[in-house]
Amino acid sequence: MTRFNWATLFSIPAIAASSSAFAADYLTVAEAQHILVPQADGFAAFPVTLSPAQLAQIRQISGVPQRTAQPRIWRATVGGRLAGWVIVDEVIGKHEYITYATGISSDGHVLGIEILSYRESKGGQVRDARWRNLFRGKTVRDKFKLNQDIPNISGATLSSRNVTDGVKRLLAIHAVALAQAR
C-alpha cells in the first residue's frame, strides 16, 4: 500500500472557521434546463394555477402537501414540439431550503434531478428570524455566497429524503396538471 506524505498534507495549518453558515449555488435555472433536457431548443415558462381540488389530488398521489398553487414550470420544446418539462421547486433541508430542478418527460418519467442551491446554518441560528430573513425572497438567480472558501464539508450525512419526496410531488403535479398539456 502506498504511503502518504503526511508532512505535505498538513503543511497548511488548521484554520478556525469563524462562521458555520454557508450557501452553495450550483446551477442557474437556465443551466439546469439544458442539462435536464439536453435536446431541447426552447424553454418557455408555463404558468399553472392549481385548483384546490388539484392540490388535494397531488397530496393524495404523493403523500406530501403541495404548498404553492403556482409551481415554477417550464415547457421544453424541440422545433416547437413538446420535449418535456422542467419544474423548479424548494424543500426544507436539514435547516434551510434546498432549491432543485427536476426534468420530467412528456409521459411522466423523471429525466434527471439537479440541485440548484443549498443553504445551511449551524443549529443555533436556525430559529433566528433575522438570519432566516437573509434568504427570504431570494430567487435562484440571486448569487449570495457565504464563506465561499469552505464549500467542502466533511461531516454527518445530510439526508436527501425531502428532495426525494419533493420529486414524487412534482410527478403528481405532472399527472394532474401537465399530462394532458401539449
Binding site: M1, F4, S11, I12, A17, Y118, G123, G155, A156
Partner: protein
C-alpha cells in the same frame, strides 16, 4: 472549477471539476447512480434485496461492484475482530433507523459477516438469514468509483463529496470544513489527493423502550453514543468511510488498523484523541 450536485445515496452528492471537464460529470454521476441502485437497503430490486430474499446457502448473482464492497467489508470485519459488520441491518431495523423490509422479521436475521461467502467476482452466498446494510461503506466506495470515472475521462483534478465522505485528486489543495457532532463547522484543514470521511451520532439518536439508540453498533452489537465527531483521512474514501465506524466503536482497534490502511484519525478536540 464547476460543481454539480444531485440527490443520490440518500444524501446530496457534489462533483467538482475544472470547467473544461464539465462533460465528464454526467458519467461520474451515472457510476454513483448504479451503485445506489445495486446497494440500496430500501429498494426492492437491489442486490441487497436479492441477498435478503434468497434462502440461506443459495448462490446469488450480484453486480461485481457489490462483490467488491463486500470483499472490503469482510476484510474490515476480520481486521476489526468483528466490530465492523455489514449485517448491522438487523440492529438498524430493530432500532428504527432502517425500515422493516417487507416479508422479513428482523429477529430471524441472526447471521454475521462470518456467514457471508464470496464465491467469485459475481456471486455471493449467505449461509444464514441476515440483513446486510452497506450504509457504513458504500458511500465511500461510490466516491472512489466516481473519482476513477473522472480520471478515466482524463480529468486532471477534482473532488467528489457524498454527504461528507469526500475525496479529491490532482495537485490542488482543497479547504475542507469538519462538521462537529452538533452540526457546527469549527475547523477547516487543507488537503490534497486523499480522502476524508466523518461520522458522528450526536444529532442522530432516538430512544426505544427507554434505551438510547444510535446508528453506530459496537461490541456485543450494542449501540454506541459518542459526544463528538470522528474524521479519518486515507488514500481511498471507502477506507476512510469504514474506518470512521471502527474509530467510533473502538478507538484502540482503529489506531491499530490505521497503519494498514494508510489512515489518520482526526477527532473533535473534546473527544480527547490525538488529532
Amino acid at each position: 472549477m464547476l460543481t454539480r450536485c444531485k440527490p443520490l445515496l440518500g444524501t446530496l452528492v457534489e462533483i467538482t471539476v475544472p470547467e473544461a471537464a464539465a462533460g465528464a460529470v454526467d458519467g461520474a454521476f451515472a457510476v454513483i447512480a448504479t451503485i445506489h441502485a445495486r446497494m440500496s437497503f430500501h429498494a426492492d430490486d437491489s442486490d441487497l434485496a436479492l441477498l435478503r430474499k434468497a434462502h440461506p446457502g443459495m448462490t446469488v448473482e450480484v453486480a461485481p461492484e457489490t462483490v467488491e464492497v463486500l470483499r472490503i467489508a469482510l476484510d474490515f470485519y476480520r481486521d476489526s475482530n468483528g466490530l465492523f459488520d455489514v449485517t448491522i441491518g438487523r440492529e438498524l431495523v430493530r432500532s428504527g433507523f432502517l425500515p422493516q423490509p417487507e416479508g422479513s422479521i428482523w429477529s430471524r436475521h441472526q447471521g454475521t459477516s462470518a456467514d457471508i461467502e464470496i464465491v467469485d467476482d459475481y456471486r455471493v452466498r449467505c449461509h444464514k438469514p441476515m440483513l446486510i446494510d452497506l450504509g457504513g461503506i458504500a458511500k465511500g466506495f461510490a466516491v472512489d468509483q466516481a473519482i476513477e470515472a473522472l480520471q478515466a475521462a482524463s480529468v486532471t483534478e477534482g473532488l467528489v463529496n457524498a454527504g461528507g465522505d469526500l475525496r479529491m485528486f490532482g495537485v490542488r489543495k482543497w479547504t475542507v470544513g469538519l462538521r462537529d457532532g452538533d452540526g457546527a463547522v469549527r475547523t477547516s484543514i487543507a488537503l490534497a489527493d486523499c480522502a476524508i470521511a466523518s461520522s458522528s451520532n450526536f444529532g442522530n439518536r432516538r430512544k426505544r423502550f427507554g434505551r438510547l439508540q444510535t446508528p453506530h453498533i459496537g461490541a456485543d452489537r450494542l449501540p454506541i453514543a459518542i459526544p463528538g465527531r470522528v474524521s479519518v483521512i486515507s488514500e481511498r474514501c471507502v477506507f476512510a468511510d469504514a474506518l470512521t465506524k471502527v474509530a467510533i466503536a473502538a478507538p484502540d482497534a482503529a489506531e491499530g488498523m490505521m497503519k494498514h490502511y494508510a489512515g489518520k484519525i482526526l477527532a473533535e478536540p473534546c473527544m480527547g484523541w490525538a488529532a
